[in-house]
Homo-oligomer: 318 residues x 2
C-alpha cells in the first residue's frame, strides 16, 4: 500500500479545531432514491452547514491556523460565491475584520450576504486579473491575510473534516464529491486514504468545465479557456496543490452533461425537498450514470451547498 | 375552562395507529430567523413527511379506521394536490387498490406522482361538480370508500398527530398552521387544547382565499367565489366540521397578502435550504407580521409540505 502523503494527525487536528464552530451536518438517506438507483445512497448535507456550504470548514480552519497577529490584522479573499461568505463568516465569528473582493457583476444577493456577515466588499472588474490585483492591494495596504479558496493546506485540511464525519457515521464503499478548485475533493481523498483505504473516492465535474478531468489525462493542471455550466461553483480551475494530491491518490474524475445535471437537480428537489445548488447536483448526476457498476453498494454523496438565488416572484409570475 | 370537545383518547389512539407508517418529522430551529424575527421559532418539517406533506397522516388514519371489508374494496378520493398522493400512498402501503379523480388540467407531474404510488387516475372536468359526480360514480360502481381530504373525523384525527409530536418535543407558547379545508388546523387545535391548553393556536390564510377568516366573522362556513393565491393548497373552502371545531375552540385566523407570502417563501428558501411549497410559507408570513406581539416567545410553525413543480430547466434558461 502507498505511504500516506499526509501526517494523519494533521487531519484529525483540523477536525478538532473547527468542531466548536461548524455544524456536524447530517448524513441522510432517501428510501425512494436508493430504490430508484439501486444503490444504498446517503447524502452528506452541507447545504445545512454554516453559510450553506462546506466552504465554512476550510475558511474556519485556515483562520484558526493563523498566528494571533496575522488573524488580528484581518482576513481577505476574492470570491463571487460561497467562499467569500465563508471567510466573512469566519472573521465575524473570530472577531476580526475581513475584506472580500467581488466582481462588479456578482449578484446583489451574494454581495448582501457577504456584507451581512460583516465583511467589507470591494468591487473589481469581472476578470481574474482584476480580482487578483485588487486583492494584492488589500494585502499590501492593510496587511490582511489572504485565505485561498482551495490551493493551500489549511483550507484543504478544513474541507477534509467533511469525509471524516461521513466515515464516523457510516462505512461506505464509495464517496463522491464535486470538483471545482479541488479543495473538497482532495480533502475527502486524504481523509479517506487514512481512515478507510478500502473506500473509493470519485470526483464529479461538469463537461462544460472539465479541467480536472483533462488534468488527470495530461498529468498536469489544465485550465478552462471558457466554461459553460449552470454549476457555478465548479467553473474554477483545479489548483496545483490539489491536483498533485488527487494525482498521487489516483482519484478518478467523471464528467456529466448539463442535461444530466438538470435531471439530477430536478430529481433531488422533487424527492428530498432539499434546496441544493446546481454544483451539488453534479456528483448526484455522476452517481446516476455509474449506478449499474455500484449496484447494491453503499455510496455517500457530498452535497456541497444550497446557495442559489431562487426568486419566487419570477417563478409564479404569469 | 371549556370542556374538551373530544375524548382525548381518540387523539392519542390515532397517533399510535399511524406511527408505524409515517415519519416522525423533525422540529428544527433556525438561529438566523429566530434572530431576525426576535422570536424563538422552530419549524415542524412536514415537507419531509411521507408524500412530502402532512396529508399522509390523515389519509393513513382514515384508511386504518375502516373495517377490513371497507378497506379491501379500496380507497378513492378527488384531489389536484397532496391529498391524492396521500390516499394513493396509504392504499399502496396497506395493499389495497385506489382511485384518484383528478381535474384534466392538473399538472402532469402530480398525475405521475399519484400513478407512481399505484393509484388509478380518472380524469374529470376541472369543476368541483365534475369532481364530485365522477367520484360518486366510483363509489357506486366499485364500492370503494371515499377518504375526505379534511371534513371527516378520521382525517382530522390523523392530522392531529402533528401537533402532538411538537408538544412532545417542545413547550411552545404558540403553534401556527395554515388553513385550507381546515383538517390540519382543527387537528392541531384539538390536540393542543387537550395536551397543552396554555399554548395558543393561530391559523394562517391567504387574503386571496380568506373563506376561513370570513367564516369566523360571520359565524358560519363561508366559501370563496374565486381565489387568487399562489398557495394552491389553501384555495379549498373550510369544511362544516372543521369550522365548528375551530369556532368552538376560538381559533383566530390571520390573513397575509401575496406579497407577504412571496417574501416569506424567499426568506425560507434562502436561509433554511428547505424546499417548502407556497402554502407552507403562509404561516411563516403571518408569524413575521405578528412577531412584535410574540417577541422572545416560543413559536412552532407547521410547514405543511414541500410539493411544488420547480423545473431547473426553466430557471437556468437564457
Amino acid at each position: 500500500m502507498k505511504k500516506n502523503i499526509i501526517e494523519p494527525a494533521f487531519l484529525s487536528e483540523a477536525a478538532d479545531r473547527i468542531r466548536p464552530h461548524i455544524h456536524r451536518t447530517p448524513l441522510l438517506s432517501s428510501e425512494i432514491l436508493s430504490h430508484k438507483w439501486e444503490v444504498d445512497v446517503r447524502f452528506k448535507c452541507e447545504q445545512f452547514q454554516k453559510v450553506g456550504a462546506f466552504k465554512a470548514r476550510g475558511a474556519m480552519n485556515a483562520a484558526l491556523m493563523l498566528s494571533d497577529s496575522e488573524r488580528n490584522r484581518g482576513l481577505c479573499t476574492h470570491s463571487s460565491g460561497n467562499h467569500g461568505q465563508a471567510v466573512a463568516w469566519a472573521a465575524k465569528k473570530l472577531g476580526v475584520p475581513s475584506v472580500v473582493v467581488m466582481p462588479s457583476n456578482a449578484p446583489r444577493i451574494k454581495k448582501e450576504a457577504v456584507i451581512g456577515y460583516g465583511a467589507e466588499v470591494i468591487s473589481c472588474e469581472p476578470t481574474m486579473e482584476s480580482r487578483e490585483s485588487t486583492l494584492q492591494k488589500v494585502v499590501e495596504d492593510r496587511g490582511m491575510t489572504f485565505i485561498h479558496p482551495y490551493d493551500q493546506w489549511p483550507t484543504i485540511l478544513g474541507q477534509s473534516s467533511c469525509a471524516r464525519e461521513i466515515l464516523e457515521d457510516w462505512d461506505p464503499d464509495l464517496i463522491m464529491a464535486p470538483i471545482g478548485g479541488g479543495g473538497l475533493l482532495s480533502g475527502t481523498a486524504l481523509t479517506t486514504s487514512v481512515i478507510s483505504p478500502k473506500t473509493r473516492v470519485i470526483g464529479a465535474e461538469p463537461e462544460g468545465a472539465d479541467d480536472a478531468f483533462r488534468s488527470m489525462g495530461s498529468g498536469h493542471p489544465e485550465v478552462n479557456k471558457k466554461t459553460q455550466t449552470i454549476a457555478d461553483g465548479l467553473r474554477t480551475n483545479i489548483g496545483h496543490l490539489t491536483f498533485s494530491i488527487l494525482r498521487d491518490l489516483n482519484i478518478p474524475i467523471g464528467t456529466v452533461s448539463e442535461e444530466e445535471i438538470l435531471e439530477a437537480l430536478k430529481e433531488m428537489w422533487t424527492y428530498t425537498k432539499w434546496l441544493i445548488e446546481p454544483s451539488a447536483a453534479v456528483p448526484v448526476a455522476l452517481l446516476k450514470k455509474l449506478a449499474p457498476e455500484w449496484k447494491g453498494k453503499k455510496v455517500a454523496v457530498i452535497l456541497s451547498g444550497g446557495n442559489m438565488d431562487l426568486e419566487p416572484r419570477s417563478l409564479f409570475r404569469g
